[in-house]
């Protein structure tokens, strides 16, 4: 038997060389299910029940008293109608749009520019590493430190930022960072300080792993640096940059802690995002019914976005041979 086996192997030398990802190992059918079972069950237990609970209460007039006494009644979709019709919600959507444009999107663009600048124009490896580490440290901070630190730095009367800008002669008088109209910008500044490093790191590593042979060829053909950037680097980094966008966008819908710590949505609700209202109404004021309606609306919006993004990611990962 043994010699015959060896013979058949030599007949098909590619048997060893080809990567055969599709061919599964031979195991009992229950093994994969058992392996996946425990993690999936854990997630189901801690995610599905709360989601269903939230949906149930979004259809009821639950408040803190009703919740503990068990006295709440079905009121159909009027919570949703209230939320969608309220000025507070519509304002918060505008704030979200502002945050998505100048927070999330601009962060990815700045991160991309910084990463490519660092890679193309800084030639020393040691300097690159030091700069990268410096720029990424803010990302290692928890939101409570970031919020507290920026509230401290931006204190209007004796904050460090105002004082530094005064000393440099850039402003004449203190900027009131936490007034209506500016407070959301302050949050966006703090958030950018915190998170620009994410797109930066991703794009930088993407650039590092591009094949040098392509650039060699471009150099031989005499292409200018600008052309190489536009025709080769950016197209090849398209997917990587898209992933950075995806991550920042999904984070934007989770964004609540900095708002809570820095301004508590104020003054006069001028820096509230939808997620913050859901948090405020649900956790601080226990208007569970209304908060649940907010939560479900946010949930549906992010479900749509996440589905689209995951579809895109599937394509990317297939192309790269992962899935």
């Amino acid at each position: 038997m043994a010699p015959m086996r060896r013979e058949s192997d030599t007949d098909h030398p590619e048997w060893f060389q080809k990567k055969r990802k599709s061919r599964p190992l031979i195991v009992a059918r229950w093994v994969p299910i058992a392996l996946v079972g425990l993690p999936v069950a854990t997630l189901l237990a801690i995610v599905i029940y709360p989601t269903v609970w939230m949906f149930y209460h979004s259809l009821r007039d639950t408040n803190i008293q009703g919740l503990f006494m068990g006295t709440h009644s079905h009121i159909g979709f009027s919570n949703y109608a209230d939320v969608l019709g309220s000025e507070r919600f519509q304002d918060s959507l505008l704030h979200l749009a502002q945050y998505l444009t100048f927070g999330a999107c601009l962060q990815v663009i700045i991160g991309t520019v910084l990463a490519l600048t660092l890679y193309e124009f800084v030639k020393s490896n040691a300097i690159r590493t030091v700069v990268l580490i410096m720029l990424v440290i803010p990302m290692m901070l928890p939101p409570s430190i970031v919020g507290v630190l920026w509230r401290f730095l931006l204190t209007p009367s004796n904050g460090a930022v105002n004082q530094a800008l005064l000393n440099l002669g850039l402003i004449e008088q203190h900027i009131e960072w936490f007034n209506a109209g500016i407070s959301l910008w302050s949050i966006i500044i703090a958030d950018s300080w915190n998170w620009v490093a994410l797109p930066l790191l991703i794009v930088y590593s993407g650039r590092v792993s591009l094949p040098p042979a392509v650039y060699e060829a471009a150099r031989v053909d005499g292409a200018s640096q600008w052309k190489v950037m536009r025709r080769i680097t950016l197209p090849m980094l398209k997917e990587v940059i898209a992933i950075a966008f995806i991550l920042r966008f999904t984070d934007a819908f989770k964004f609540v802690d900095l708002v809570y710590i820095m301004t508590s949505g104020g003054p006069a609700q001028s820096s509230e995002l939808p997620t913050y209202i859901a948090f405020q109404r649900g956790i601080r004021e226990f208007a569970v019914g209304e908060a649940a309606a907010y939560a479900i609306i946010i949930f549906i919006i992010s479900a749509v976005i996440i589905t689209l993004f995951l579809k895109y990611m599937k394509g990317v990962m297939r192309a790269r041979g992962f899935a």
Partner: protein
């Protein structure tokens, strides 16, 4: 290519490269500005940690301490609760990391080796989507869910389990990517040699993914260590994570900025050290395995 066009291209290249040189300084200046913007808060945080309480609250802030007070770093721990908070955070982060890694490796291995039998792509992506969903959507019921457990909300165990919401998807997904990179042929060869599946796994595949596993562990640990939103809802008197303690450094109406910043700096040491050690793997983890670091 004939001679004339070759020369023209070369001339054009020279001119654009000249223009490029000026653009380069513009970009470098922007990079420099951003470095200043990034470092300034960190710098101010550090010097504030060394200031006296009075100096930290001056009307005109000083950018260099008039008098260095390194005692702040010991002074913060005069209150036992501050030290306990670091311990609580450490216990929760470490236990959660171990649990995420164990469960994540199980699922990750199944998805990598038996994609179809383990539920396929859709299940894998469903697990990942749990990480992306906004946690506010499930905060309130989470409280009641854990309030009904025998250990209650104000305990290490609740937070350890709760943090699985964001760390288990990450661990599963990344372990899937790492297991996929470990060649299946070696494992098959071990089977053919008559090894049991368990032995083949522990002796052959596991050593190949250990580096990946370590990086996943560090990443999960950092996320659990820095978590704020869930902790804010759950902590009571028995368990307080350090992220919750940081905004509470007040004395009457005055904020003790120097203590707050000193405590923050100490709490920063572990994640920053981990990052410097694992920066190679960091990118892979943060981009969910799409970008190879």
């Amino acid at each position: 290519m004939n001679h004339a066009t070759g020369a023209m291209t070369a001339g054009g290249t020279e001119r654009t490269q000249d223009a490029w040189r000026h653009v380069r300084y513009l970009f470098l200046a922007f990079l420099g500005l951003w470095i200043v913007f990034t470092v300034f808060p960190l710098y101010f945080m550090t010097i504030t940690a060394f200031k006296s309480a009075a100096e930290a609250n001056l009307t005109v802030p000083t950018f260099w301490p008039q008098e260095w007070q390194p005692r702040n770093f010991i002074g913060v721990f005069d209150e036992r609760t501050n030290f306990n908070a670091l311990v609580d955070s450490f216990v929760i982060a470490s236990a959660n990391t171990a649990l995420s890694l164990f469960l994540g490796s199980l699922a990750g291995y199944a998805f990598a080796r038996f994609p179809r039998q383990a539920g396929g792509e859709n299940l894998a992506f469903w697990i990942l989507s749990n990480r992306m969903f906004p946690p506010v959507a499930i905060l309130v019921p989470m409280f009641f869910l854990f309030d009904n457990t025998p250990w209650g909300t104000d305990s290490h165990l609740s937070l350890i389990i709760l943090y699985l919401v964001f760390n288990l998807p990450l661990a599963t997904w990344l372990m899937m990517v790492f297991f996929r990179d470990a060649p299946v042929e070696i494992e098959e060869a071990a089977y053919l040699d008559g090894w049991t599946p368990l032995r083949a796994f522990f002796k052959v595949t596991l050593p190949l993914v250990i580096p990946g596993m370590i990086s996943v562990a560090m990443l999960c640990w950092i996320f659990a260590w820095n978590e704020y939103l869930f902790a804010n809802l759950f902590v009571g008197t028995a368990v307080r994570t350090y992220t919750i303690v940081i905004p509470t450094f007040t004395h009457g109406s005055q904020t003790l900025w120097n203590f707050q910043m000193a405590f923050s700096l100490l709490a920063l040491i572990p994640p920053v050290t981990l990052f410097i050690l694992l920066r190679r793997y960091m990118v892979r983890g943060l981009s969910l395995g799409v970008v190879k670091g």
